[in-house]
Amino acid sequence: MPAPAATYERVVYKNPSEHHYMKVCLEFQDHHGIGLNTAQFKQLLITALKDLFGEVGAALPLDVLTYDEKTLSAILRICSSGMVRLWSSLTLLGSYKGKKCAFRVIQVSPFLLALSGNSRELVLD
C-alpha cells in the first residue's frame, strides 16, 4: 500500500540557526602579499579572536568551510553567539607577519544557502 499523501503542516522557527556563516576576503595593502594555506588562514582568525577577546574568544567553535588560496577568500562558520565577537575581531585585525592587511566581509547570513549567490555582484554593463 503506498503511503498516504502528507497532510499540511507549517512550522515557523524563530532564530533557528545555531551557526552564522560569513564570506570573507583577506586583502593585503601590498598586492604581492604573502600566501597563506588553509591552516595558516585559520590560525590568523584564531589570533584575531585572541587579540581582542583572549583565550575565551580564541576557543570559539569556528570552521573554515571553504578557502581559496589564490583569492584569499573563505566561507566561515561560527556559532551564532560568537558572531559579533568574530566580526569585530576581523574588523580590528590590521597586519599579518608585519604586512598590513584587512578583512573584507562580503556576505553574512544565518543561512548557508544565502551565501551561494550574491545579487550585489550581478554585473550588467
Binding site: A6, L65, F111
Partner: protein, 321 residues
C-alpha cells in the same frame, strides 16, 4: 553583563517549513512562487542523475531574456503608453540596478501594476508623494523582465541591452545526501533528517563545502547530517539573472513530473534566492537588508508528490506568508 549579553545577540531571522502534497486542492505552492517577484538565482539538484533530460534542459535555456535600460527617467514607467503596452498585459517586472536598499533610492515594478518607491528622506520630501515610513528604517538604471518582445523597440531611445540568464551545469560525484521521510518535517532520530538540516546541507552543497570532516579536524568539523547515503552522481543546475516567477513555476511543475517514470532519486530540490536589494519579498511585504538581505525559498519534491517548502528571511522582513 548587559554588554556581554549583547555580544552574543544576532539579528532575528525566520525559517518557515511547510509540508504538503502537490495533489492537495489547497496546496499553496503556486501562490508562493508567483508572489515572490524578484528572483536572482534559481538552482535545482537531482540526485542519481548524470544527464539532464532534454525537456528540462530546454526549460532551463528558456528562462530569459531580461532587459537592462540605462538612465531611464522614472516618469516613463507611468506613461499611458507604457502601461498599455506592458503593464496591462501582466507579467511586467522591473527593479533598479546597482541600488542598495539600505542606502539608495530603489524602485520596483510589480506584475499587478504597482510601482514601489523606496526613497530616502530628502527624495521623499522632494517628490511630494504620500507614503509611509519604512518599517525598517531618479534617473536610475533599471532591469526589466516582460513577456513582450517589444521591450527592445519601446526603449530604443535609451540604452537598452538584452541579457540571457547565466546557466551553470555541474555533475557532482559521490555526494553524501541526507535521508528524509516526507511525512516527518522535523525528522526522526536515527531515521530521518529534519527540514532545517536539509536546508543547511543544501547550502553546503551549493557552496562546495567538504561534507566529510573529522570531528577533531583543525580546519573544519562540518559534516553531512545523519542519517545519510552516498549517491554516485548528482546533477546541479544554477540559473542567475532576473528570473520570472512564471519560469520558476514551469521548472517546478516539470520537476514534479520527474517522478512520473520510476527514478532512483528519492527527492529533488528547487531553490530560489531573491534580490537582496528588492524593496519587497513575498506579495507586497516590505523587505530590508540589515546584515544579509536574504529572502529565499526551497522546495523538496518527493517521489510520491509530497513536498516540503522552506522559506527563509532575515531581520528586516515580515514572516513569509
Amino acid at each position: 553583563m548587559a554588554t556581554l549579553r549583547r555580544l552574543g545577540e544576532v539579528p532575528r531571522h525566520l525559517l518557515v517549513c511547510e509540508k504538503s502534497n502537490f495533489g492537495h486542492e489547497k496546496s499553496r505552492h503556486r501562490h508562493l512562487v508567483e508572489t515572490h517577484c524578484h528572483n536572482y538565482r534559481v538552482s535545482f539538484l537531482i540526485p542519481e542523475c548524470g544527464i539532464l533530460p532534454k525537456e528540462l534542459k530546454d526549460l532551463v535555456m528558456a528562462t530569459g531574456p531580461y532587459y537592462f535600460v540605462k538612465n531611464l527617467p522614472l516618469h516613463e514607467l507611468i506613461t499611458y503608453e507604457f502601461i498599455n503596452t506592458f503593464v496591462k498585459k501582466g507579467s511586467c517586472y522591473a527593479l533598479t540596478y546597482n541600488t542598495n536598499i539600505d542606502e539608495d533610492n530603489t524602485v520596483a515594478l510589480l506584475p499587478n501594476g504597482k510601482l514601489i518607491l523606496s526613497l530616502d528622506k530628502d527624495t521623499y520630501e522632494e517628490t511630494g508623494l504620500q507614503g509611509r515610513p519604512s518599517q525598517y528604517s531618479g534617473r536610475k538604471a533599471m532591469k526589466f523582465s516582460a513577456e513582450e518582445a517589444t521591450m527592445m523597440s519601446y526603449f530604443s531611445k535609451y540604452q537598452i541591452q538584452e541579457h540571457q540568464p547565466k546557466v551553470v551545469l555541474r555533475t557532482l560525484k559521490d555526494l553524501q545526501c541526507p535521508g528524509l521521510q516526507s511525512s516527518e518535517l522535523e525528522g526522526q532520530p536515527e531515521a530521518a533528517c529534519s527540514a532545517g538540516q536539509l536546508f543547511d546541507w543544501l547550502g553546503a552543497v551549493f557552496c562546495n563545502v567538504d561534507l566529510n570532516n573529522e570531528p577533531d579536524s583543525f580546519i573544519s568539523t562540518y559534516c553531512c547530517p545523519q542519517p545519510s547515503t552516498v549517491v554516485a552522481k548528482a546533477y546541479l543546475c544554477t540559473i542567475t539573472g532576473f528570473i520570472l516567477p512564471e519560469k520558476i513555476l514551469g521548472l517546478l511543475e516539470h520537476l514534479c513530473h520527474y517522478f512520473d517514470e520510476p527514478k532512483l532519486a528519492p527527492w529533488v530540490t528547487l531553490s530560489v534566492q531573491g534580490f537582496a536589494d528588492s524593496p519587497v519579498s513575498w506579495r507586497e511585504n516590505e523587505h530590508g537588508f540589515r546584515k544579509g538581505g536574504e529572502h529565499l525559498y526551497n522546495f523538496v519534491i518527493f517521489n510520491n508528490q509530497d513536498y516540503w517548502l522552506q522559506m527563509a528571511v532575515g531581520a528586516n522582513d515580515h514572516c513569509p506568508p
